[in-house]
Symmetry: D3
Subunit: 135 residues, 6 copies
């Protein structure tokens, strides 16, 4: 009996999409207004999904309050009210596209969640643009 | 050609998460405020998903109005405005965690839905906490 | 220059709508399934609105983080995961209808918010049923 | 490393569910008010999901702005503010059930999206009724 | 003590915005794609708001279940799955703009709701376009 | 007959809340993480409300498509994907708090909307924090 539990958390951050090795013109041509030099920002929503068998004693796949605390400690309190490009080490040389952010969130969380549970993450950049990654 | 149809229904119920064979202290330590003795409650949302080939004559995998009626008759009208622990037989000896509720909903619905269609259920306890089960 | 700031918070609680001085039959006839004896529950959302002039030095009508803390301390941490009828003193002899809950929330908050700001509260019992009160 | 990107778009359209070779009575018996002769309508939401490896140079599976433009050009600007039965060729002899619409949207989009990316589509007819199709 | 109670209901309908005494060209120039000849449609949401003093005996301004039944009987079951222009008498000679629909809903409801309660209505045509009317 | 029409638009932007004439320590003490030096950001939603009599010939208070175009031209295309502090002149010496942003949006829109219509604006910084201003 495999069940998936899902927990939503959020953070607000600034970012900019551009390659440092490209000219401003080329960045603008490829990334459009996402490359504007002074950053823009988003209210990011994360949904963390864990799949496995419930613990027979407590009836939980994992306590969602504990899961929420892990997400907060490892991801949202780190990213919240920050500039992803300037303040977060993993984006020093990796562009903070939604695709790259969801992978980095996965890497931050995977070691701190039970190894026998499958992990998948959905990251909403806006209500219209979101990404999913399952390792 | 396999298509998934999805129908959302809802119910409002009270519940409490605790083990009868544990002390109040142990229940509080493990389940926190979810074990408060006088119950709390939620607006539960269910999404029922059925996957299969559409009927070529009517273009439906299943009539969603009929699907909604099955969900109401078998689940939401039974659970709505009830105390899951006290009023619903399947939770007399099973804690009504989201994980256990979604399994019981699956068991209630599976015999009353077409056998050739795959069934999966998502249960929202809140906007932030939800679970998925596919049998 | 008058501006309204709005802050959303939430709590989950059980309740039951019935008059102690009425028979079960009469309660059922008037209040329907809301009077079921073992309680049901909701995910309640509150929006607290304060109207006044922004402080010229900090540009805030009131710091929304502080406003959120007042709402949590005075209302949502008190009501959350509780049975409104049994656990909350102001509903010992007052039925916890949405109308009465929003008035009690107003009375809990008014003394702890700046007196020069107008207060209005919206309480969502479900997405479909909600109430507003402004003192 | 496979990631899914998701883009939401919408259109508003009229439709009617009925078989031309059936009597009005039979259509009403099978399709209910969805067969009313003068049409009704919906705000349709589409979520288009593409799965594959991000381009290492730009960090995108596909530019979501470009994906949005393809959806608009091939689907939503064609269907928007139209009568699906009368104005859209693919529904001249196919009933515009949600199941059939999502398949036709898939067929419209598949040739114009990168062949190495897997495509799945979710179509919301209402918040309560939606369908998913992945080819 | 004045409290506002709010009830949300919905209906799905087709409509077309055009003046019969204008040419198709002029209608297109003024109303754009809203004047397309074969109609389009929407998922309409209504919020009905009633303001007054709660009944001291039952703690309700008005029973929201009863309010919902009045809205269904007088408005949503009449308009649902209909073509507003062709099927609904009050739009035979009045264009079903959101502004006109909300006024007609008000006129349909006002005689069937308690006269001592103030009535206001919000009508959502889409999530982005909505109107409010209070008589 | 006065009706209110409401139009929702959005923009994504970076900002920082701090006084230039205060030390970093004082800014941090008063504004918390909102004063982080490298900015953060939000998905801002605006609802613009106009109240007045519908034009008897076209049945609109104002064409919502035209209203949307005015909001885009005067506000959202100017603010979108920008740093409010660095890129937008009116925030060069005014902190971009939600209160100040909603006032500046009002000032940007008022001259370009019909003078006989009352204007009110709601600005959502997040789903939990929003402000309203009516001039």
């Amino acid at each position: 009996m495999r069940i998936t539990i899902c927990r939503r958390e959020h953070f607000n951050a600034a970012h900019r999409i551009y390659r440092k090795d490209w000219s401003d013109e080329r960045n603008l041509a490829v990334f459009g207004k996402c490359s504007n030099p002074n950053y823009h920002g988003h209210n990011y929503d994360i949904i963390v999904k864990l799949t496995g068998e419930p613990d027979p004693e407590i009836g939980y796949v994992m306590d969602m309050k504990v899961l929420g605390d892990v997400i907060k400690e490892r991801v949202t309190e780190v990213y919240d009210h920050r500039n992803l490009n300037l303040d977060i080490p993993e984006f020093a040389d990796v562009m903070p596209t939604a695709e790259n952010i969801v992978v980095k969130i996965y890497e931050r969380l995977r070691p701190h969640l039970p190894a026998h549970l499958d992990l998948a993450i959905t990251l909403y950049e806006t209500e219209r643009n979101f990404v999913e990654y399952a390792g």
